[in-house]
Amino acid sequence: MVQARIGLAKSGLAKSGLASQKVRAALWFLAPMVLALALAAGWPLGRTLYYAFTDATLSDMADHGFVGFDNFWNPEWGGLFGDAKWWRAVGNTLVFTGASVGLETVFGILIALVLNRPFRGRGLVRAAVLIPWAIPTIVSAKMWGWMLHDQFGVINDMLLGLGLIEAPIAWMANSATALGAVIAVDVWKTTPFMALLVLAALQTLPGDIYEAARIDGVSRLRVFFRITLPLIRPALMVAVIFRGLDALRAFDLMYVMAANNADTMTVSVFARQQLVDFQDVGYGSAAAALLFVLVAVMTAVVLTLGRVRMGAAR
């Protein structure tokens, strides 16, 4: 479909000039990539959206009937919109996304401000900050799972040692703390990404603005809010949007830390549980389709806003 739209720029195929030679080459160069994406993304996505309107089961996906919008809403058993567990998953996803992206942004800016200042060993510190980002999510989940262990965990040991708590806390078993723990781990893991993007933005700022502000005797806090923040805002917005869309689809962390626990279940975990554990392809696909639509709409809005703003800047 995409290929059909890549028309030859008015020249026509018969010509052999450079421009048409390049356009022809471009078609060949793009074909494998477009084919791979169509095969690995386009087709599966289309099938998922299709199955969302069926009652297929995993054991025999070919044998299914078309049920219209029943998976989303029906008077008999409610569908997704009448499923409390689904709404819980939606709530968890939104809380997880909001809290973890918000905290990451704040910590990311703080760390970037520290790393933006020249001091001895800065390169080493910057590398150390990247460590959580490089650790596979599964491994982070396991590491933190062990650190948060109710009886033998180092977190409880530290808190007891500092006298902050009187008895060990069962972090993951307690519905009041489970989601918080997952958020904390995600913040630990993804703050480096945010910090590095903010740092990259900070390093493009001209130094003379600060010189001028210092001569004018403006306080540091004011400089940050009046000068630095507005200047890095475009880059910050991009990072926040990327991370936000990424957090909406979170799966690995909660699945490994708490399996299918309802306290931490996100939409992705919900969808996979329906799909694989309960073998309900139709219902699971419907959940996945809703998540896709949510992300797609947000992406479209972001892309459009981005283009409008770029247009205005020109």
């Binding site: 791979a36 993304a41 600060y210 689809r249």
Partner: protein, 273 residues
């Protein structure tokens, strides 16, 4: 932002390093403890390799590592190859539909993985790729190809136009321009992008969990997530920590060595987007 950094500043730096590094340090400490030692919190390492031996004898962990390496390398090579060619077309040729194609590619990188799960499952079963490495390689391309194309395109667009034109006047075909002129100049960009793709494929969990069945086809993340003990409530934490350290140490080494390039790749993908 100005003046000499004071004690408070270095305290902050120390806190950041501790916060970033402690969990991995603690995993290393735990991985060297076996038996009942594990159930006593200590902060200094001892040196007992029992867990490491156990990881490789109690399950096919060597095989899991091999699986992960094969999948990740194949994904990197394929992504870079397809990405490089596509990047030339997207960065240096003007054709109708170019903007639309770029936007599509960017949106695919935002796809929730779970949205392609059903269709991918069906396709992988139809091709007889269930519980096999080729199946995982195909699935992983969804995650790596879009950003590979995107990052390589931004790098490719920065190369001087006259170099390409000189090569055309010299008689090069577009493919020769890519292979002989641009590819050698894209070395750092390819390294950064390849590294990012490797990390993504190495860490991938959802597809590997869903599309494999047997222990000897699993990749490392799934193997670690599914390490179980005698009962459900007795996880062999020592083994898990040892396995975690084994798969993470090479990554951390890569990151420490290629820090600058990774940052360049990350920011090219995000900031310019």
């Amino acid at each position: 932002m100005s003046g000499r950094p004071g004690i408070l500043f270095f305290l902050g730096v120390g806190l950041i390093v501790l916060f970033a590094g402690f969990p991995f340090y603690y995993a290393v400490v735990s991985s060297f403890k076996s038996g009942s030692d594990l159930f006593e919190v200590t902060y200094l390492p001892m040196f007992d390799l029992a867990n490491y031996r156990a990881v490789f004898t109690e399950q096919p962990f060597g095989r899991n590592i091999l699986n992960s390496v094969v999948v990740a390398l194949a994904v990197v090579v394929l992504s870079l190859l397809l990405g490089l060619l596509a990047a030339y077309a997207l960065a240096r040729v003007s054709f109708r539909g170019r903007g639309l194609l770029l936007a599509t590619i960017l949106s695919v990188s935002m796809f929730p993985q779970v949205a392609v799960l059903t269709g991918m499952f069906e396709m992988i079963r139809a091709f007889g790729l269930y519980n096999s490495l080729p199946g995982l390689i195909v699935a992983n391309m969804v995650l790596t190809l879009p950003f590979t194309v995107w990052v390589l395109t931004t790098f490719m667009a920065d190369l001087p136009r006259e170099l390409e034109e000189a090569a055309f006047v010299d008689g090069a075909t577009p493919f020769q321009v890519v292979r002989l002129v641009f590819l050698p100049l894209m070395g750092p960009a390819m390294a950064a992008t390849g590294l990012l793709a490797f990390i993504v494929a190495w860490n991938e969990f959802l597809f590997a969990l869903t599309f494999t069945l047997t222990n000897d086809m699993r990749t490392v993340p799934v193997a670690i997530a599914l390490i179980t003990g005698a009962t459900q409530y007795e996880l062999p934490w020592g083994n898990i920590m040892a396995a975690s350290v084994i798969v993470t140490a090479p990554l951390i080494l890569l990151v420490l060595v290629f820090q600058r390039r990774i940052v360049a790749g990350l920011t090219a993908g995000a900031v310019k987007g």
